[in-house]
């Protein structure tokens, strides 16, 4: 660690904009040296761990449960409850940190790892202590070189300073953290595929049940898989207490959450927003956030929870970041990625971009995803290229129904007179990659069908001539 403490406060980190809001996980982002142990210690670092070590594990676990720290990976399951799902008395049990952030539009965990790796490490230690986990595996996405470097350096420093390893801070609590880099597969962000990958196998999801990680996870042992942001909340929580945590946000969605906004807004970036109360309108149009649509254009649609989420229309702008409300409105908050499309957007092309990604990232395990995803992509490519037919539009939905039987969630639209179909959908695949290939197509086709119709081939019927056949033959030249 050669850099000394500079104390310089950066106006804002790349892609991150601070504001005058409660900051739980991004409090150090403005320091140029935010990723160093020195800065971390100088800003209350590892005091959550110290606080935790003076308390009984069950007590710490309870604190987290009381705070209702929702999982930030996508499903939004409370971390404290998740920790309690491991079977009694079965050891060793592991913590696996899902740092394979790869949902299209999502780049919040990358910043957390790049800019505050010690906060994540401290979060891991607290989780291991509270849930009685024997070892921690930190899986970082293969493409995130800087995050890998920063976390590795931080971990070395933390080991050297006695925060990780045997008898942490002189206590009888010992835990090792193992780093693992992914090799570049979207599906490995799915927890069971991540476990397969960690075991050295091909990254393919396992079926739950029976392979619920909490029961049968890494190496067949009970395993807790937590998202980076979820764990990054813990140091603050342990220092400030559950009451302070739940004082922010709403009862069912307490605390803050990080959202990554991309697309046609004036100021895309990652923001730490108050959970449960901030609305999409606040985020997209608020001056302390994205500042409105670029060039003063109109909002056409937005994806509220990562590339796999059904799309929202301006009709849904006033929804707050509250999982239940968003679900009822026909989509999900997912991994906290908002992709904004203005009125210049070519909707079928935008849907194709997303579908192509999911078709390409299918692991190949489940037939509907492997075959259906690519089929969807090819039909849609044809349409976007101007070679589609009327039948292709229904065909898209038919193929999609083979992946997601039954009605698929979508947003309400006043313009179209549509009422919302709530989340979730049914699916014939193990994981969400297959449905994700269909979700953008379904949203686009349901909400903007006219744009598809505009692209398909128009066949004009050649009118039958009224001229008598004999006359036509005569005109033909008397062959």
């Amino acid at each position: 660690m050669s850099e000394s403490l500079t104390g310089t406060i950066m106006p804002h980190a790349p892609g991150f904009i601070a504001g005058d809001r409660p900051r739980i996980v991004t409090s150090r982002f403005e320091y140029e040296d935010s990723y160093t142990l020195e800065r971390y210690l100088a800003t209350d670092g590892y005091s959550g761990l110290r606080a935790c070590l003076t308390r009984a594990a069950a007590d710490v676990h309870n604190e987290v449960k009381t705070a209702t720290v929702l999982g930030r990976g996508g499903a939004g399951f409370p971390a404290g409850v998740k920790w309690g799902l491991t079977p009694q008395g079965k050891f060793p049990r592991y913590l696996v940190v899902n740092g394979d952030e790869s949902e299209p539009g999502t780049y919040k965990d990358r910043l957390l790892m790049e800019r505050d790796p010690h906060q994540l490490i401290e979060g891991c230690l607290i989780a291991c202590y509270a849930a009685g986990l024997s070892q921690c595996f930190l899986y970082i996405r293969g493409e995130m070189a800087l995050a890998q470097e920063r976390v590795a350096t931080a971990l070395n420093d933390a080991y050297a300073a006695g925060y990780v390893g045997t008898n942490i801070l002189g206590s009888n609590f010992s835990v090792d953290i193992v780093l693992h880099w992914g090799a570049g597969a979207y599906v490995v962000g799915e927890e069971t595929a991540l476990i397969e990958s960690l075991e050295g196998n091909r990254g393919m999801p396992r079926l739950k049940p029976p392979f619920f990680p909490a029961a049968i996870g890494l190496y067949g042992q009970p395993t807790i898989v937590n998202n980076v942001e979820t764990l990054a909340n813990l140091p603050w929580l342990l220092v400030n207490g559950a009451a302070a945590y739940t004082a922010i946000g709403t009862e069912s969605s307490p605390g803050t959450r990080m959202v990554a906004v991309s697309g046609h807004v004036r100021r895309p970036g990652v923001y730490e927003i108050v959970n449960g109360t901030t609305t999409f309108r606040d985020l997209v149009y608020g001056n302390e956030f994205c500042g409105g649509i670029r060039n003063g254009n109109e909002l056409k649609a937005f994806v509220p929870g990562g590339g796999s989420a059904p799309w929202f229309l301006p009709d849904q702008l006033d929804l707050p970041f509250e999982g239940k409300l968003v679900g009822a409105a026909g989509s999900m908050l997912g991994s906290g990625a908002i992709m904004v499309m203005d009125d210049t957007t070519d909707i079928p092309a935008a849907a194709l971009t997303l579908t192509r990604f999911y078709a390409h990232e299918s692991c190949g395990k489940c037939t509907p995803c492997r075959e259906g995803g690519t089929w969807l992509e090819r039909i849609l490519s044809r349409i976007v290229a101007g070679n589609g037919t009327d039948a292709d539009l229904d065909q898209l939905l038919e193929v999609g129904e083979s992946i997601c039987p039954g009605s698929f969630p979508h947003a309400a639209s006043e313009r179209l007179g549509l009422t919302a179909v709530p989340f979730p959908y049914k699916m014939t695949t193990i994981c969400f990659v297959g449905p994700s290939a269909f979700a953008p197509i379904h949203s686009a086709l349901t909400l903007f069908r006219d744009e598809f119709i505009a692209k398909i081939v128009k066949r004009t019927l050649i009118p039958v001539t009224a001229a008598p056949i004999a006359a036509a033959s005569a005109a033909g030249g008397g062959q």
Binding site: A185, V187, R202, L207, P209, P210, A359, H360, E361, S362, C363, G364, K365, C366, T367, P368, R370, E371, G372, G373, T374, W375, R378, I379, Q395, E398, V399, E401, S402, I403, P405, G406, K426, M427, T428, T429, I430
Partner: protein, 802 residues
Amino acid sequence: MTLSDTATESAAESPADDAPPPDPNAVSVTLNGTTIIARKGELVIAAAERHGEYIPRFCYHDRMNPVGMCRMCLVEVDSGRGPQITVSCMVTVAPDMKIDTESATVKRMQEGVLELLLANHPLDCPVCDKGGECPLQDQTLAYGPGESRFVEEKRHYEKPVPISDLVFLDRERCILCDRCTRFADEVAGDAMIQFTSRGNNTQIATFPNEPFSSYFSGNTVQICPVGALTAQPYRFKARPWDLEQTESTCTTCAVGCRTVVQSSRNELLRYQGVDSDPVNWGWLCDRGRFNFEAINSDSRLAEPLVRTADGLVPTSWNAALSAAATLITDALAAGGAERIGVLGGARGTNEDAFAWARLAHDVIGSPNVYAQLGDGLPAGVLGLNRATIDDVASATTIVLLAPDLKEELPVLYLRVRDAVQNKRSKVIEFTPKPGGLTGQAWRSFGYEPGTQVGTVQQALADPVIAAQLAKGTVAIVAGRANLAETTAATVQALQALLAALPDAKVLPAFRRGNVVGALQLGMRPRPGGLDSRSTLMAAADGKIECLILVGCDPLADFPDTDLARRALAGARRIVAVDTFLTESSKHAHVVLAAAAYGEKSGTTTNLEGRVTTVSQQVTPHGTSRPDWMIATALSKLLGSDLGFTSVGEVTSAAARTVATYAGITTEALAQSPDGIVAEVPAGIDPINAVSSAVGRNSYDFRLVASRKLYDQAVGTAMSPSLAHLAVAATAHVHPLDIERAGVHVGSDVKLSSPKGSIIIRVEADETVVRGTVWVPFNQAGANVGELIDCTAVVTDLRIENL
């Protein structure tokens, strides 16, 4: 009083009208509105099938772990939270579960999955080997959408590509069900085929320059639910609807796998494994699966031969049989029955062995009869507390004092491997040449030949091992691991094990097809008679007036080649019964052409003592006849007609006269396709031996000779698909010993034993025990048999540069 006695008594005391206690393993679930009783832990797909509701599937296979890959078996399951879509192959039954396999949603999902599976499938069914027996075809017919809306261009791959010498892969047909890859990894332990790429480009592939050279590769062809994997010996040979078939038992080795023998136009074309729960679980080894090619070989003996001035010439059966009878009569006249030796009988059916035992003992009167050829253990091992394969595969501890099971008894290897993989058993291995199961063993002791007694005793003295052995049941697999030593040390080691583990059961790892049946049915010496070694020694000394070889090739199979050669030269008269004119039968005065496997019916006995049926599927080659028929014909000419007119009569006679086969009749076998285990023969021969092995001179190496799966045996050598899989003999030496001996890897050296010397190439092999040299037996090139003296306790060698 045992526990079961107590249970019976208390049951008797309770009132008779009491309802039986609820079965703790019964789980009541609703299947399509009907209540069924499933078993605890049973998968939904299996429970439904057991109750007559077949759920379509591609990836699920009941002998492998489910993966839920193909999504064909999706059903709706209501566990109290409303109907949920789930694959029935990975969900176990739970009380009060409601399973719907016929709902509109299920039907829609099945159509969807099939449409998607067919989207990229080439539909080249008219030229596909699988067409007509294809699960994809069948299930499309039963559950498919009936039309295809896929108008895009299909996936294209080079087709087919060979992934091994035996198996071709057509990736266009592949539906990526993970069956072959799971089999290779989970069952065979040869994870040489894998998925590569992902998504729509996912494909099966081998690693670069590493073919799928598994001994079990043929099983992947059998379990492939489409025509993606095809086997070289069957490709384009027949359409399934042209095949006629019969259920039988493979007699290539002594495991006795159940098979289906299929033919078309009176030619054997394919064997398929049958799932026999106590034996092979549906698997076959490639040698057993593909060696029907040898039976179809043009080199087969089509008619009997007699020696004239012009050598062996074809003749009629009448002439050949009377020539053979004359030879035997002359021999009786010249030296009496004691001077006649009968060797063999292990390659035929029980009926063949029984008829020949009757002929040899009762008609000719010779006590010198033996089915083993100096490459097994004393027949007395059969009289020990015999283990079944299931006993072994469920034992807490499996002790291997045996040859490499992967090479000699491949499907037994699969069963033992499964027991280890599924954590039922721990293996303690004693071996002179670490092999297929060494990596699976909990403890593996590589010993130098002659030192096995000490090695076993040392292991038994280890408290950790003793604790493991005391933990539960113990099964010992005992066989001949080294042909270059006598059986004394192994027998003594077995005795040491049994002394320490009196309750242990023993599975004899005898190798040759029906050797156990032949021994149990009488192909062994009567008191005062000679075993094969003594018979050959007597022949070499000119004391055998007539040597009768019943499907037996001492020059290829007897470890001591020199003795075999001298015996064939020294025997005054030789009668051979064989399917091919082998090196040994070329010495005969009369060669009687024998019908081969698939050409005759009867029964066979595997190493457990399990008797199963062997069925005729094609007519015998040329005028060849089953061995039992030849024995009967000879008996008549020798004046004491055995009187058998059909194979059934032989089976019945054996059931009547051989105590251990009592009740094993054709009718009883028809009722039990998995066979009937013949009782352990009482006091067959005591096993007793004391090894007199002495320490090795430090300049010398000790020879280990054992068989590989593919060698020069006729079944392999005469099967074109298999013949080239046999490796040439090389001397395997530990790399450090190569240095010590001052020789070079890849160079030819001279191996000399007191018996003889051979020139052979040296190969470095880290698995070889230090101080030993391992040479595969009966391979092309240098013949290790030249070094072996069958009377020497061990064989010590010198390695010298040329």
